[in-house]
Amino acid sequence: MNNPFELTGRTILVTGASSGIGRQCCLAIAANGGTVVATGRSRERLSETLRSLPGDSHAGFPADLTRAEELDKLVQQMPQLDGIVHAAGVQKYLPLKFISGQALREMLLVNYEAPVLLTQSLLKHKALRSGASILFISSLAGLTAVCGNAIYSGTKAALMASARVMALELAPQRMRVNCIAPGMVRTPMAQQMATVVSAEQMAAHEKLYPLGFGRPEDVANVGVFLLSDASRWITGQTLIIDGGFSCQ
């Protein structure tokens, strides 16, 4: 009998695969028998990610998903997919008084528009197999407030809301759509945030997490579960992974 937690025979597209959570998802998918199709903006770091994956069936396609031509080109090259992990995202602190239209649009473009349009395009090109599992990496910020995060939180909450509708629309094709809402995870994005809020504030913030800050593997492992058959009956959900932060 097959182990429902394994991803053997499944091909998964991962965006934001050059670093952080995206990169870790590639590692976890490969470790669990899946084939990775990785995309990210940095050709170099994408190659590095691919080199570190066990097995040799994986592939990489550098692309800037905010550019329509590059998104189209990526979709044309896609094999049949059993899953997508939308891990590409950017974060910038923008206190309300300093929100500019341009900064707002940029974050919305990368964090919300690109993953939605990519999903739409893959569907249109029939690149997703029946039973595929689509996963959006949202954020606890989409559910709770931190000063300076108005726009980032907006983009992450937008993903959660749209994912629920997609779950309904795609259920007849037995496709599932879910979000993961991680709390603070030790990634390059978190390091960049620390340059703005200071190391001391980060340390104080970590004390609010009963289990401390997370690691990329903590998110990637749940990603594998949501991509696998073991979560066959889970759709339209947001799984909060936050070391206990929001249970208080």
């Binding site: 000063c147 340059t195 809020v197 200071s198 504030q201």
Partner: protein, 77 residues
């Protein structure tokens, strides 16, 4: 970049500070309104108005508004 404009922008980034009440010699960390939120505002203001990325560590090294202005002028080149 002009120091007087910079002081006005700095005032704008601190809540509850009357326009014209700060000057280049103001030691901003001594202001009663100073907080980590204000620091966030200053970093955002510098990015929005001057296109310079300032880290909180760099902000720390400055005592007065003028010192911060010098630091930014250096970075902008």
């Amino acid at each position: 970049m002009n120091i007087d404009d910079f002081v006005r922008h700095f005032e704008g980034a601190v809540d509850d500070v009357a326009a014209g009440s700060l000057n280049p010699q103001t030691r901003f960390r001594d202001l009663s309104q100073w907080s980590s939120l204000v620091a966030l505002n200053i970093i955002a203001m510098v990015d929005t108005e001057y296109g310079v990325e300032l880290s909180v560590e760099e902000l720390r090294k400055c005592q007065s508004i003028e010192e911060l202005f010098q630091l930014l002028s250096g970075k902008k080149k």
